[in-house]
């Protein structure tokens, strides 16, 4: 652990950031029926304070170190305290989380105005804020895992906010379970590191153990295979949380939750936590196999999700698949950077900047905004989510339209919006990795992104209203419009020099000679958006129908079969075995034997005197035989 010198960031701010939302959540969740609307106030208030605190934290720029806040587990050989690791990475992420969190809180004031269970909603939001803060600040992997699970819980609660709806109830369950599968790997990874590093899971110390010839460097030399396994296991956690293939299925379903939730959790922050974690522990990804796998999975997810997004009709789902695709991008960037580092092309790790983190950062603003914008649309259209039942919203909802358009442009990577810079950084990393496939697939994804986003914009906002509800749509109130506007501003400027410097955005220092990348990205943007615009302009129904894409490559169906055929069949089979054989062999058989012997011995007691005398006589013979003729020989 670095010495706590004058540069130490102090304990006050992290403590506020962590505990305020925690107590806010606790108070609201336990007492929301007594508190009623006061709970909304508590929650929003705490989010505002947190935002201010994170701003103050940004001001401590340059200070690094881990401060411990509270003990958690402290036994010989295993210390894991509640701590806060403060560096550029966490400060920047902290800002994103609290800023978008605050905006979503404010937006929700409007969006959830009429919901009966508003207090519960805000309580869960606070819980989420707490856990997300925790992930960002966590200085050791145990704590990271703890908050990791807790964001899972808050996501579960928020997706299942309208639990009366069967689809919501199923979706929240699915989200939690899929994440659990990822966490299964995450935990194994942590355990392997725990064992290899003699019980020290502090992230700083782990890095030192790799870099400065600690025990892990030793293992890496002798047994690189296990490091690969560790890296991939940690990655599995990210696969779950960041919804990478093959665990991506939960994220689209998670759109069952209220739209602000989708914006905050399932677009901007929580799903990005996987990437954040990967970058945090990227020093573990030091074997080619691990790096290639990560990059490959990310790339595959990006492409796959983009393909699916092209054929969706639900506005939130399109955005969800887009999020998937962008997350794939980020993951690919992590892998690509590591690949490059292993080959010695580029600087390793998160310092001073990382393309994945940079994309995460920009993406958070515009994707949050897109979701909030879609929320505004849905709100305005009386909870209509099908883009084919909208249309012409441009006129009814100008603010929404413009902000949405800015977001779309940022997402597509229109220069000089923030998305352009970060996407270029990612493609650059892919290019640098030396793997052509990554780069080509990345470019293809970019084209598809442009394609489906244009499609969304064209179908929903242009043309004329296709239904009554779209026709009567009106602009949203100020409390909802304000966050949109703020986010739009960030979507444009956040990648720009001084601004991103202040926000510590992890912007990678540009490597020279990326003309290829630059031109490619502009070219695919044009190809995608123009083809889409031409194709969808003025259409009332989808002109192309690709069932495979529309049905998401049948992943849900395949998984359903797997669950049914494997897990349920296995459970049925095992239960049968357990009932019949285990219980039978251990309990029923001995019982039956004893019972049989019992009734057999009862036959000796037949009540016939002659039988008894015979037994007695036989007994005498037996005893004499035993005592006189057998035992003396044995002794």
């Amino acid at each position: 652990m670095p010495p706590a010198d004058a540069q130490s960031p102090g304990q006050f701010l992290p403590t506020i950031l962590l505990l305020l939302p925690f107590f806010s959540a606790l108070i609201i969740l336990l007492g929301h029926r007594a508190l009623k609307n006061a709970s909304v106030l508590i929650s929003v208030g705490s989010s505002v304070i947190c935002f201010l605190a994170s701003l103050a934290l940004l001001a401590t720029k340059g200070a690094e170190g881990t401060v411990s806040i509270l003990p958690f587990i402290d036994v010989p050989g295993f210390q894991a305290g509640i701590d806060a690791m403060i560096d550029d990475q966490s400060r920047g992420m902290m800002f994103i989380v609290t800023f978008i969190g605050m905006l979503v809180h404010i937006f929700s004031l409007g969006y959830m105005k009429d919901d009966e269970a508003k207090p519960r909603f805000f309580g869960s939001l606070s819980l989420f804020m707490f856990s997300m803060t925790g992930i960002v600040l966590a200085g050791n992997l145990v704590m990271m895992f703890i908050y990791w699970e807790l964001v899972g819980l808050s996501s579960y609660l928020l997706i299942g906010h309208w639990y009366q709806k069967a689809s919501a109830a199923e979706a929240c369950k699915k989200a939690f379970l899929t994440n659990r599968i990822g966490d299964f790997g995450f935990m194994i990874g942590i355990l392997i590191l725990f064992g290899l590093n003699k019980g020290d899971l502090n992230i700083d110390n782990l890095r030192d153990a790799f870099v400065t010839g600690g025990p892990l460097a030793e293992v890496l030399k002798n047994n690189p295979g296990i490091i690969t396994v560790a890296a991939l296991c940690l990655f599995m956690g990210a696969v779950g949380k960041s919804a990478q293939f093959p665990l991506h299925v939960w994220l689209p379903d998670a759109m069952e939750g209220p739209t602000p939730v989708s914006a905050l959790i399932h677009a901007a922050t929580m799903v990005a936590a996987g990437v954040y974690m990967l970058v945090r522990v990227s020093f573990v990804i030091v074997t080619p196999l691990a790096a290639e796998t990560i990059a490959g999975i990310g790339c595959f997810t990006a492409l796959l999700a983009a393909l699916m997004a092209t054929q969706q009709g639900d506005i939130k789902r399109i955005l969800a698949y887009s999020t998937l695709s962008q997350l794939g991008y980020m993951v690919m960037a992590v892998g690509a950077v590591s690949m490059a580092a292993i080959d010695g092309h580029a600087a390793h790790g998160a310092h001073p900047g990382h393309p994945a983190m940079f994309h995460l950062y920009t993406h958070a603003f515009f994707k949050a905004m897109l979701f909030l914008g879609s929320g505004a649309v849905i709100y305005a259209c009386h909870h209509e989510q099908d883009i084919w039942k909208m249309g012409g919203l441009r006129k009814h909802m100008p603010i929404t339209f413009w902000t949405f358009a800015i977001g779309t442009a940022a997402l597509m990577g229109v220069p000089p919006l923030s998305g352009f810079w970060s996407k270029e950084a990612v493609l650059g990393a892919a290019f640098d990795s030396g793997c052509r496939v990554l780069f080509i697939a990345g470019a293809a994804t970019a084209a598809l992104t442009a394609f489906y986003m244009t499609r969304l914009l064209v179908v929903a906002f242009f043309g004329k209203a296709r239904t009554e509800s779209a026709h009567h749509a009106v602009e949203v109130p100020l409390v909802m419009a304000l966050p949109l506007a703020l986010l739009a501003i960030f979507s444009i400027f956040s990648a720009w020099g001084p601004f991103s410097d202040f926000l510590q955005a992890m912007k990678p220092e540009h490597v020279e000679g990326h003309d290829t990348v630059l031109w490619t990205s502009v070219a695919v943007l044009l190809i995608g958006s123009i083809s889409s615009f031409l194709l969808y302009k003025g259409k009332d129904a989808d002109p192309i129908r690709i069932k495979l894409f529309a049905n998401k490559f049948y992943f849900d169906e395949i998984y359903a079969v797997i669950v049914r055929e494997c897990q349920d069949r296995l459970a049925w089979f095992v239960t049968g075995i357990e009932r019949i054989f285990v219980d039978g062999l251990v309990a029923r058989l001995p019982a039956a034997i004893v019972a049989r012997i019992g009734s057999a011995t009862r036959m000796l007691q037949g009540g016939h005197l002659q039988g008894y005398t015979f037994l007695l006589g036989g007994g005498i013979i037996a005893v004499v035989y035993l005592v006189v003729f057998v035992l003396p020989r044995t002794h």
């Binding site: 019992g598 007691q605 039988g611 008894y612 005498i620 005592v627 035992l631 002794h635």
Partner: protein, 487 residues
């Protein structure tokens, strides 16, 4: 006053009671019963005060050591309880006896008691034979005493034939032991058996026959088959007496015989120990397993009695080489002391059921907790103790046995004991369960006199006290250190 006088007086009191009954038939059975009880109680009080010095002529065949004194006290206690039980059961018993009289049921136990007390002191085979026969013949009479009951009579005949058969075997064994060792006295037998010149096969044959004879008395398998039939058929107080008194007497004799046969250095020691081990293992199993399906509680208690005899045999099989100061003889004594209150309580319940016009089957026990909560509680304690649940007396006894077996590494026997104890859980708990079920609670409530309640509670308390704080009894039974050295 010497202990011997006490015993003689007890027998004399029995005779006096007989005479009273014969010549003063108008005397009520209560008077008779209470007189007998008073006499026994008095003897019990006087026992610790008596001197233990013996005249010289008695010393070859009589001894008064700790064990003897303990068993004398034991005999007095069980006799007292049996006498009281007889009074309790009198209303029911008199329906089956000659002219509704019970006088002999009060006087014979006194004589049996004297016999058992003498037996406890016996140190030669002649004395053992005589006292054993005194007890046995008295029991022939007592078992068949309810002669208007076909079952009692049947039990009497079975006991008679098998008992006489075992007597024959016993005498034959005595003959061979005498032939091999040239003496009837245990000390001399022990000395002769320590001499390698003694004929081993003759000694073994004699010991085998003798042990068969004694095994019959204590209900060791495979000589146990009379027990369920006889216990079931005999009047309940007599069954109690048989189950506790006669068994204890058998074990005293066995203890004394084994002290001679299996003393360290004996040429037949290891064979005898092995026989006990095999017999004990067989006995616990043959006592427990058939009991699983018993629906007659009285018969079940008989099987239980067999099973407990098995544990006692296993304790004896561990011999004198154990690690406990109390010694295997002490363990047997301890076990019997714990066995007394629980068995008596069990039979008391049966007796009370009969007196209140109910049967002895499992079904009759249903709902007892409603009909008589106190009785149900004490019986629960008694059966828990029989099953060997900790914090009851029964557990301490069993633990001693288990400890000895493990100490000697007798794993096979330990396995049998564990299986038997497990089966025991089943059949004792079955009765407990029956008592607390709601079915059958509509039957008339049982009436208990205050004395009955007091004695039942007292016995239950003894069970608990011995289970929680057995140290005093252990102290009593631990032979003085000097005696251990002499061994």
């Amino acid at each position: 006053m010497s202990v011997f006088t006490l015993e003689a007086s007890l027998a004399l009191l029995g005779l006096v009671l007989l005479l009273l009954e014969a010549f003063k038939p108008e005397i009520s059975r209560r008077t008779l019963g209470y007189t007998a009880m008073a006499g026994t109680a008095l003897a019990l009080v006087l026992l610790p005060l008596c001197g233990t010095q013996l005249p010289e002529f008695m010393q070859p065949w009589h001894q008064i050591d700790t064990l003897a004194l303990f068993y004398k006290g034991f005999a007095l206690v069980i006799t007292l309880l049996v006498l009281w039980l007889t009074l309790e059961c009198a209303p029911y018993l008199t329906r089956f006896t000659l002219d509704g009289k019970l006088a002999e049921m009060f006087s014979l136990p006194l004589i049996v008691c004297a016999g058992m007390m003498w037996m406890a002191s016996a140190r030669d085979l002649v004395t053992i034979f005589i006292t054993l026969e005194l007890v046995t013949i008295s029991f022939y009479v007592l078992v068949a005493f309810a002669r208007k009951s076909a079952l009692s009579l049947e039990a009497g005949v079975k006991y008679l034939i098998l008992g006489a058969l075992s007597t024959g075997v016993l005498v034959y064994g005595i003959a061979w032991i005498y032939g091999a060792t040239g003496s009837m006295n245990f000390d001399a037998i022990g000395k002769a058996l320590a001499n390698p010149a003694t004929s081993k096969s003759a000694a073994l044959f004699g010991a085998a026959m003798l042990l068969v004879g004694l095994g019959f008395k204590v209900a060791a398998a495979p000589f146990h088959m009379w027990v369920p039939d006889v216990y079931q058929g005999a009047p309940t107080p007599v069954t109690t007496f048989l189950s506790v008194g006669s068994k204890a007497a058998g074990f005293v004799v066995l203890t004394r015989a084994l002290d001679a046969f299996a003393a360290p250095g004996s040429i037949i020691g290891s064979e005898v120990q092995s026989l006990l081990l095999v017999g004990g293992s067989l006995t616990v199993l043959l006592g427990s397993l058939p009991a699983i399906f018993q629906t007659s509680v009285k018969r079940l208690l008989a099987y239980s009695s067999i099973s407990h005899a098995g544990y006692l045999l296993l304790a004896l099989a561990c011999g004198s080489g154990g690690r406990f100061d109390i010694g295997s003889n002490g363990i047997v004594a301890f076990y019997l002391a714990t066995y007394l209150p629980m068995t008596v309580l069990g039979f008391l319940a049966l007796g009370l059921m009969r007196v209140n016009g109910q049967g002895e089957d499992l079904g009759d026990f249903q709902g007892l907790a409603k009909r008589s909560p106190l009785l149900a509680l004490v019986i629960t304690i008694a059966f828990a103790s029989l099953a060997g649940l900790p914090l009851t007396a029964g557990f301490i006894g069993k633990m001693f046995v288990f400890l000895s077996l493990v100490d000697h590494g007798y794993w096979g026997a330990l396995t049998c004991a564990v299986i038997a104890a497990a089966a025991g859980f089943y059949y004792y708990f079955r009765i407990i369960l029956a008592m607390y079920t709601t079915e059958g609670s509509e039957k008339p409530a049982l009436t208990l006199t205050p004395l009955t309640k007091a004695i039942a509670c007292g016995l239950a308390l003894v069970i608990l006290a011995l289970g929680v704080y057995p140290r005093p009894l252990q102290k009593v039974l631990t032979p003085p250190a000097a005696a251990v050295v002499v061994k």
